[in-house]
């Protein structure tokens, strides 16, 4: 390739920067919706890649690398950034140009990373981000002089404004693509490692250099904004801050359940309509049954949670972007530390209330391997939205809508079930702290970024990411499980003289019959035992399965109301309560276990998780059943 061609060829660029430098907003500004999220080969760090073209039509492929403070990594995320920049990941070409995103409002941290990056000797450009805010607050610096001192081109960017990246795109156009893609070096080679990981003395030296350099270019140490100090005095107050956090969480949960009701109803109705239409259009055969009972009903029953997941993530993303979530982690650190967790675990656990899967994936940002594992292990104890329909059905059937003081009894029971999940999670974490692996020090070292208004564009892109990940899961794992379960529930077909529902004669029925022996002591009848089998795919599917078992042929929407009187009259109160207790732990969610396997790269942890959840569920149901039986008879 000659020079002229290289100047026009695709350019691979990587965004590197300290956490909270506005790097992701810059990435979103550059690439818009042209992004794809995947995993790096072999590890499960999210790999975000996007592309854009400049006015000359040249294509740029951008990778958004996880934020890092240094090239001596402290977490899985940071290790990935180092390895990609060094071209150490097999199958991941080394970027042609590193764009180091510096936060103009927090130059000391960013400048140190720039000095670190410079040692690598790779083509590099510095994007001085948030330059608008920096100017407004009065800490400007002589950009040309700094570029001259460092020997690196510097451009100013404003990630949150249209056109804020024009200078950067123009500057990138002058870089040439590498003639040959570097072959990835799979093993850590000595020389590269020495360059990549400066020792403590080296870090001290660069750290002494940073303020001198900044002073030379006229950058004063940013003062703490008075408004931020006032906000912190309230939001981080030991009592006041807790009160605010409680209120915020309460509001978020209210919103998740009340705002989602309408879109969820629409999805249910839509899925029902499609099912009815397909039923009418096809003759009554196995294909129709597979499409309607297996695929449409099954996928629909999971799809219905999309609104709740999106609303919860809307709040999580907005709170995270505003700088509040790290402060919540600060507030809860002591409490979580008492059971051996880090305050950092708060964010993944909060996500787990929507679904344990994104929660488990978010645990990657926890540096300590042990803390991360404990967080993953207790994530399924946060009551995910999939359990809500089961709770709603059982509470509706067995708990009277009576007033208990100023509260509604049904609401109180629902709250108690959520609380039971959180308390048992704390208990399990405490148990693991004392009996499984010791580490006497858990670093927190969490940056508390400046408050800022969430960037609507980044919020939308983030939500779209979440929706895509969820829908892909529905289309992949859940769809295939649904087909398998439909097969198990439909074959072998019932004999012609069958009197019971068809599922009773199928493989699932046989399995349920066998399971009944196990579940009889905790009060589950054979119908529940059968329903738990398809519930493996996704917990809420158990409701649909109960409907099938009781030979209900209503659509999803009508089902809940139709089945409620049947179980209310058919089951004892003890059985109903026992099943509620079971669902607090609900060990049967295959997608969660599959993600744990992927995230930990071992079968050990998913097996331990399934085992301990099953044991706790059984124990809780057993106690609930026996106590309720003793009290009601």
């Amino acid at each position: 390739m000659d020079a002229a061609n290289r100047a026009l060829a695709d350019l691979r660029i990587a965004l590197v920067g300290v956490p909270n430098c506005g790097k992701t907003a810059l990435f979103n500004r550059l690439t818009g919706s042209h992004q794809k999220v995947a995993n790096y080969p072999g590890v499960t760090i999210e790999r975000k890649e996007g592309q854009f073209h400049n006015r000359a039509g040249r294509r740029f492929a951008v990778v958004d690398l996880p934020g890092t403070y240094s090239f001596t990594p402290a977490s899985l995320d940071e290790a990935i950034t180092r390895d990609v920049v060094l071209g150490r990941i097999a199958g991941e070409p080394q970027p042609d140009v590193i764009v180091c995103v510096a936060d103009a409002t927090h130059m000391p941290l960013s400048l140190r990373l720039i000095l670190d990056l410079q040692r690598l000797g790779r083509p590099m450009i510095v994007a001085l981000n948030r330059s608008d805010i920096a100017k407004r607050r009065g800490f400007t610096l002589d950009v040309a002089k700094l570029a001259d001192k460092l020997g690196v081109p510097i451009v100013e960017t404003v990630a949150i404004a249209p056109g804020g990246t024009d200078q950067l795109i123009e500057a990138l156009g002058t870089f040439e693509a590498a003639a040959v893609l570097h072959d990835a070096v799979p093993a850590v080679d000595g020389a590269a490692h020495a360059i990549a990981a400066p020792d403590r003395a080296e870090v001290e030296r660069t750290q002494q250099l940073v303020p001198r350099l900044l002073a030379e270019v006229g950058y004063g140490e940013p003062l703490r904004a008075r408004a931020a100090a006032r906000a912190d005095a309230i939001l981080m107050h030991p009592f006041g801050g807790m009160l605010v956090l409680g209120t915020v969480l309460f509001f978020v949960f209210q919103a998740v359940f009340s705002w989602a009701a309408v879109p969820m109803g629409l999805i249910e109705a839509g899925v029902g309509a499609i099912g009815t239409w397909v039923s009418g259009a096809l003759p009554d055969n196995a294909l129709r049954s597979l499409l309607v009972d297996g695929i449409i009903a099954g996928v629909g029953s999971v799809l219905v949670f999309l609104p709740q997941i999106l609303i919860l993530f809307f709040f999580i993303l907005a709170l995270e972007d505003s700088g509040y979530l790290p402060r919540a982690a600060y507030l809860l650190d002591k409490l979580m530390g008492s059971v051996g967790l880090s305050g950092r675990a708060f964010i993944p656990l909060l996500s787990s209330f929507a679904c344990a899967i994104p929660g488990i994936m978010a645990a990657r940002t926890i540096p300590s391997v042990r803390d991360r594992l404990v967080t993953i292990m207790i994530a399924p104890l946060m009551t995910c939205s999939a359990r809500l329909p089961v709770y709603a059905l059982l509470i509706g059937a067995f708990i009277p809508a009576a007033a208990a003081g100023p509260f509604n009894l049904q609401g109180l029971v629902l709250f108690a079930l959520y609380a039971a999940g959180v308390l048992s999670a704390l208990g399990v974490a405490w148990f693991m702290k004392h009996f499984a692996g010791k580490q006497n020090h858990h670093p927190l070292m969490l940056e508390l970024p400046d408050y800022q208004w969430p960037d609507p564009r980044s919020l939308l892109v983030g939500l779209w990411d979440r929706a895509r990940i969820f829908l892909r899961r529905v289309g992949g794992v859940i769809l295939s499980l649904m087909i398998i379960l439909w097969f198990l529930s439909s074959y072998p077909a019932p004999p012609p003289d069958a009197t019971g529902p068809a599922i009773e004669y199928s493989f699932a029925g046989m399995l349920g019959g066998a399971l009944h022996t196990i579940f009889a002591p905790i009060g589950f009848n054979w119908q529940i035992s059968i329903a738990l089998v398809p519930g493996l795919a996704a917990r809420e599917v158990a409701i649909g399965a109960l409907g099938t078992v009781y030979a209900m042929s209503a659509t999803e929407g009508a089902l809940e109301t139709a089945i409620m009187p049947v179980i209310a009259s058919g089951w004892s109160l003890a059985t109903g309560l026992s099943l509620l207790a079971w669902y607090v732990f609900a060990p049967q969610c295959l997608p969660t276990l599959a993600v744990v396997k992927r995230e930990t790269n071992s079968w050990r942890y998913p097996l331990i998780m399934a085992g301990y959840l099953f044991a706790l569920a059984y124990l809780a149901s057993f106690i609930t059943y026996r106590v309720a039986l003793a009290l009601t008879t």
């Binding site: 990594p73 941290l109 300590s368 670093p443 940056e447």
Partner: protein, 86 residues
């Protein structure tokens, strides 16, 4: 630094060689990471908030950035209080 009260200012004297790993064995140590965050000799620090009880964790401002640190980490930073007391 772990004994500083809320609102106290000090100058970093040195950071102890806390060799405890931040993550697993391959990862950075607490001491090195503290230096990377800006806790180096001569840096001015201010404890902006601290949690009740026992001031753990505490929020420390250094070089224009604020970090939440547990007392264990803060203890690795040796400081000279600004007003010469405590």
């Amino acid at each position: 630094m772990s004994t500083l009260m809320r609102g106290a200012r000090a100058t970093v004297h040195r950071v102890l060689d806390d060799t405890l790993s931040v993550g697993d064995a391959l990862h950075s140590t607490v001491g090195q990471r503290l230096v990377e965050l800006g806790f180096v000799q001569g840096a001015e620090v201010e404890v902006v908030e601290s949690m009740w009880p026992f001031g753990d964790p505490l929020a420390v401002r250094v070089r224009g950035s604020t970090f939440a640190l547990r007392r264990g980490e803060a203890a690795a930073v040796m400081v000279v209080p600004a007003n010469g007391a405590g």
